[in-house]
Symmetry: C2
């Protein structure tokens, strides 16, 4: 046992586990630890080199009997945990959609965790609920959403953890609304619709909600339509299902799909949904944030016809995980599906109906004070600050696209719409489609194994493509340029450096 | 515009939103802010005095166009947010079940938020997944759970946000298992069981899972049975339902109900469930943590017969919100109900089946790195530290019980089992049951309005009772004593101070 443990030991353990001065001392250490982490994170292998079981082999298999000193724990985090992380905060991280943390988003989470209030209803912490209603109206205005999604317009917003929960809750609202009309026993007749590019969250929500697997319609898209959902196909499929005696009730449209950032035509899809009185949810998990910039707002055109819309502020709005913003036009549909009224939560404010009780807008009862971090982000950066940050990501992605387009060994697979580029090595003469896919798979694996950048893949129209998504907050142009040079070097090695190419 | 804004303005905004030195500077300020908050929190009115709309009236109705300096935002938090909070961290907080934050739990959350990894599968951050499997095994051992709930025994644990999600996920696992046998179209025949004391999370989960409302069985309990679920009644009800052609599939038993900390007889209930091959989930949201102390472990006796068990480390295990620990005996039942396998997440490690992909153990895809905070709590305090903290809460509750029992105007309504006391003013001569309830309602409202303590209520066997739950981390004996004096003073005023009483 080291000197430190002897020092820290008895006196520390006799203190309250939330002793304010000990909290202060350790808190400062953790802030310095994280600041140093951000200073160094560019140098770490982006994707962890861990093998399955590595961490469990390094750590004891029982909790300690006696408490351990904080400094020893912090050292273990540096020695054992950090090497096992895939560094989403690295400037060289371009995989999936990056998680967009920032100082403001982080500090908001820190304050929420410090206050540690459980805002299930208004009374349990009025400011937590009211800040959430405020910040959801603020953001709706900043995105140019129609008044009907704001509290002042009869709608309203709520912070969920993730898009999965947002889609599930809206689907449940739509389900209950429909079953109230046709009878709850007809749940097996319900049908849901989305494109084959929709996020897996759509199918998972349908499964949880008890929709029969044969009643998930994932409608095919085409390269010619840039992988967007065809309103005509949706209309025809709905009609066919109705003729078969089924009950279409929910459509999920996407603005910015995960595979290729495809954008479904919201206006036309809403028209189809509204003809048949279906609930249409807009999943704008990634791309929704872009609408703080007027030049992207046209992708939401027609959204006034939708029933609900969600985006993840933790994806592209500088807010640390988790923070999914969901707006609905008719909150009563949500609360009719999700409200409970146990005796122990009864109170005058709730009964007055003058307040929002967010427990009835989500799956869980307990909820963290997520509004704080989104409020801090909006205030710290302001609308113009957010615009300039998002535009810088778009500009970096566009520059990457130009670099790819300038090397004739490569192709950009779909047009760049936001801050993500889908590219691949072109099919070379004599290579089959599967061989081309395999070559790209090896290129990506080599890149991720190098630890110098991290990207991910998709399969789009049968083609294996590499996705570079700019969005990690520390990323600068030089990191994007390095990532491209790395791609080229790996391509040189894969294809044979002697081949003369267009660079 | 103040000098500060001029200072902080341009230069700050030109920096990266995650500039490490700015992060460090602001991070230290927030730590000091929270340390000071804990120093002062005992002096704040525990339940906020806010009126509906107060906060929204104080704040602008649009996000700012330009960013604002951090110090101004922090001042607003002190001026506008703090007065609108109900202070769950106050030592005078005794309502619901307190949220049990601590320095270790807080710092774990801070580190997770700083790393900001999205651990949907093993590959996306191996250490996040492996630390979670480790810490769930550690805690299972500390609680004396059977080997069959550990990864080493073929089971395993996962960190969910809340009990609502844990009950929902286990119910979905049980639903899918049952429907695979009887056909998915028979969802309307499914029946679920719990006592009338079970948490509203049970009914909410059943509703989300598409169980027909007429098929929720909330079985009546009695005062004679201390409000615990009768195994005989359960057996008879299940038989009756089966005879009617329905399909019983899920039982939720509770260790430590919200109203009165009643404990269902786990062993006998598991026997009933196992006779009929039903899934039995043990909801030990509050009281489960007590099993780190051997003297409480007998309440889990027979748990080896259950299919799953959950407890909230954010309720009584020093871990900041949110942290619900769920163990299941058969993880494949969970993943069969909740897994998705989208192309963009495919990877070698997952295909090798050597790793856990927690996305398939929960509703959401994205997930925070919650294991960090639970690991920090277990290491910082060790098993003996946690035991002594929980025992101190129990001792304080027991002392409060004695104080109540020593004042003949009051009665303790049910025996104290953990760290919660249910009490009320006794029915006085000539008062109806409803008048007695009203008197207690006024007593509680007066207490909460005073701001000097915060408690909540339940209705138990028709009686309105006041609940004092010890568990807020800063609470010491003197705070419990003060709360009792406050109760007495309010009773004096309500009943007339002139009445000679037994004190």
């Amino acid at each position: 046992m080291g000197k430190e443990e002897l020092n820290g030991g008895k006196s520390k353990r006799s203190k309250n586990p939330l002793d304010p001065e000990e909290f202060r001392r350790q808190g400062h250490k953790v802030i310095d630890f994280l600041a140093d982490y951000y200073l160094n994170v560019a140098d770490y292998p982006v994707r962890s080199n861990s093998q399955p079981g590595d961490l469990r082999r390094l750590l004891p298999d029982h909790a300690p009997i006696s408490g351990e000193p904080f400094d020893a724990i912090l050292r273990d985090i540096q020695s054992f945990i950090v090497p096992g992380l895939t560094h989403w905060m690295s400037p060289n991280y371009f995989a999936y959609f990056p998680s967009s943390g920032s100082t403001a988003g982080f500090l908001g989470e820190v304050l929420s965790s410090g206050f540690n209030v459980v805002g299930f209803n208004w009374l349990s912490s009025p400011a937590a609920t009211e800040l959430e209603t405020l910040v959801m109206d603020w953001l709706a205005k900043a995105l140019g959403l129609p008044e009907s999604f704001l509290f002042s317009g009869g709608g309203g917003g709520v912070l969920q953890g993730t898009t999965c929960e947002a889609i599930l809750c809206t689907m449940l609202a739509a389900r209950e609304k429909t079953l109230r009309k046709i009878g709850t026993h007809r749940v097996a007749d319900l049908v849901v619709y989305a494109s084959d590019q929709a996020h897996s969250a759509f199918q998972k929500a349908a499964r949880i909600a008890g929709v029969q697997p044969e009643n998930y319609r994932t409608l095919p898209t085409t390269r010619a339509d840039l992988f967007s959902l065809s309103p005509d196909l949706l209309r025809r499929t709905i009609s066919k299902d109705m003729e078969a005696g089924l009950v279409p009730f929910f459509v999920c449209a996407t603005v910015g799909t995960t595979s290729s950032t495809a954008v479904d035509p919201i206006k036309a899809l809403c028209e189809v949904a509204n003809e048949r009185n279906l609930w249409l949810h807009v999943d704008a998990a990634y791309a929704g944030s872009s609408c703080v910039c007027p030049e992207f707002r046209h992708y939401f055109s027609g959204v006034e016809g939708a029933s609900s819309l969600s985006l993840n502020a933790h994806k592209w709005l500088l807010t640390n995980l988790d923070c999914c913003c969901l707006w609905v036009k008719d909150p009563s549909a949500l609360t009719a599906a999700l409200s409970t009224d146990p005796e122990f939560l009864k109170n005058e404010a709730s009964e007055s109906k003058k307040v929002v009780d967010y427990k009835d807008w989500q799956v869980a009862l307990s909820r963290r004070f997520r509004a704080m971090k989104l409020w801090l982000v909006l205030r710290t950066h302001g609308i113009t600050g957010l615009q300039s940050i998002l535009r810088s990501h778009v500009a970096m992605a566009e520059r990457f696209r130009c670099l790819v387009a300038g090397d004739r060994r490569f192709e950009v697979v779909v047009p760049r719409t936001f801050a993500m580029v889908c590219f691949r090595l072109r099919p070379a003469a004599g290579l089959s489609s599967e061989e081309t896919n395999e070559l790209n798979r090896r290129l990506l694996e080599g890149l991720n194994e190098s630890g110098r950048a991290c990207m991910s893949h998709a399969v789009v129209g049968g083609d294996y493509v590499i996705r570079l998504a700019v969005g990690a907050t520390l990323t600068e142009q030089r990191h994007v340029d390095s990532a491209w040079r790395l791609v080229q070097q790996l391509a040189d090695a894969l294809l044979g450096a002697a081949i003369i190419n267009g660079r």
